[in-house]
């Protein structure tokens, strides 16, 4: 088959070495590598090691800061804002979440945000960390402008993913991780590269607003959002939470260097004890889970909890101890290794 299984341990070591060569401290590199490996473990491979060369390039080009001084710019008992100093988003978001969990433990409800951060990579990771520690968590991020206001063609805000995570009594949290576009732009890019048409149902329109199956016209045209004005409206609202509230770059200004050092994130944590009783909460979540599991599937379909497919995939990969990458990704990682003088496994 066209690809290769690589040991997770070797990937971890390789990632640490690559970021060290790019100037990062070991503690910081470890955080970034673990969030990136979590993407691959969960099968969100567009945000995993496939992007390692891209991140290293940003660091080397000086668009991202390898040794950012993360600065608390505003803080209260229930809130904290972290300036990311153009560090990698995985680092900035993880450090913010560590602070936010402490706030939420004390205050019951806590909101936090980042500014001058970057691509957060595997967005599920941060609310997931909070939910593993018992909090209901929400997170969102700004991203490079691809979505126009409803009825317009001017790109203005990102597909700004929204993530929700809910703790469970036993077992991994429920996680919903969703961008605001019905179909990932990566799929359209792949179709363009392969010269294939895209389905009309994907909802892309050309520059003039006409429905199109031509992936190049789609990439230069109107990117749809889920639910039409609803998705474009959510894109604006997430832009307010993750861009404007923390005083960071927002709206069209997130563009440039693929948003490196120009993105922001927003997180909310709620302790179930602050609005009720934790034991009762966890029992009710199980009742909901049982109802999902008991729902009658449509013919040929199966029913999953939010995040369940990703969680099962991660458990299987951990059991195997390896992750599979396409040959093209392996080649790029080997090329990066040669360039940096680091061996891949």
């Amino acid at each position: 088959v066209n690809g290769r299984e690589l040991p997770i341990d070797a990937l971890h070591t390789f990632g640490l070495a690559a970021y060290a060569r790019a100037g990062m401290h070991d503690d910081d590199a470890r955080v970034v590598v673990e969030v990136q490996l979590e993407a691959d473990l969960r099968g969100v491979d567009t945000h995993g090691f496939q992007r390692l060369p891209w991140y290293v390039d940003r660091l080397v080009a000086g668009e991202n800061n390898p040794t950012p001084r993360l600065n608390v710019v505003k803080e209260s008992s229930a809130s904290v804002v972290l300036d990311g100093d153009a560090g990698l988003g995985q680092l900035v978001c993880t450090r913010l979440m560590e602070r936010l969990v402490d706030k939420a433990r004390a205050a019951g409800v806590a909101a936090g945000a980042t500014r001058r951060s970057s691509d957060w990579g595997c967005g599920a990771s941060y609310p997931l960390r909070a939910a593993e520690q018992g909090f209901v968590a929400f997170g969102t991020t700004t991203s490079v402008p691809t979505i126009a206001p409803f009825g317009a063609r001017t790109r203005m805000t990102g597909n700004n993913p929204m993530v929700y995570a809910v703790p469970r009594r036993d077992g991994p949290p429920l996680v919903l991780d969703m961008a605001l576009t019905p179909v990932a732009l990566g799929k359209v890019m792949r179709a363009a590269a392969e010269g294939e048409a895209i389905p009309l149902e994907w909802g892309f329109r050309d520059h003039d607003g006409n429905p199109t199956t031509d992936p190049r016209a789609a990439l230069g045209g109107i990117v749809p959002a889920i639910g039409g004005y609803k998705g474009t409206g959510l894109s604006l609202m997430m832009n307010v939470l993750a861009g404007i509230l923390p005083g960071g770059f927002h709206s069209a200004a997130v563009a440039g260097a693929a948003g490196a050092g120009r993105r922001g994130q927003f997180f909310l944590l709620v302790d179930p004890d602050s609005l009720g009783d934790r034991d009762r909460f966890l029992a009710d979540v199980e009742t909901m889970v049982d109802q999902v599991r008991g729902a009658e599937p449509l013919a040929g379909e199966s029913v999953h909890l939010p995040g369940e497919i990703e969680e099962v995939r991660a458990q299987e990969a951990r059991r195997r101890g390896t992750l599979r990458y396409p040959a093209s990704v392996v080649a790029e990682l080997e090329e990066l290794g040669r360039r940096l003088g680091v061996a891949l496994g």
Copy 2:
């Protein structure tokens, strides 16, 4: 034309009298009437006076409590949970929001929820009140189960609307008020009543999961959510926030008496000063607004801010001093008036 303009003042008086006859205190009735009139002013007429007879019926039938004792069941400096004692949702949500604004003013961030509440009517109203007082606000509610888990046919959670409101320096807040279904079920019901087919693009499927244009098959079948698994996932997450967190009815248990006394709501308020600086925040919101206004419209389309169409409609109606209702609604209101011994205007 088939309809009638009624003076807003007369509607207000009529509503107060109708709820008084149904046993409500004047203060409480005033709150409910004003939220219902706001729905009509904003053009969300499905949640306006059209429903007055329905609410009165619920009160008379004892499914809703005309004199609820709203009880704070849990409270901290940044959170509050209100038991609605089966009162009307407009009353319960308004009273919660009054408390929550005080909390957010002191704590910077505040979360609140209701349980044993009811249909919230015009959901935009509550975050809008908070935004008028300077807070970024989010709200959601449980509702009667219409949506099945993705891939299943068993209805389990509601189309649980999400509302975001953002304060502006001058002028009315931005408001995004959206249910999780791409097309309101009311439109399918109307098509069924008129014996008309519905467009395939609406995404409804029959009981077996096959796409359908038959409105009756659609109403008995699979109700779509925006973005497929995204919308159904949001429905579950809103169920956690508004149903499970406050310890209320949740998931399939929201059904029964159309959810009267069985719904819950969740609200979050963030003071822009808690994560940054209010003046800078308000300036940045204007920059975003300017970008929306400056976006190049597609041919034949126009571009609006979230909530702008509704706000303009409300301003026009206030200027006129009247609201227009279809003949059928006027007839039902007159019938209610005869029944209660109250004159309509």
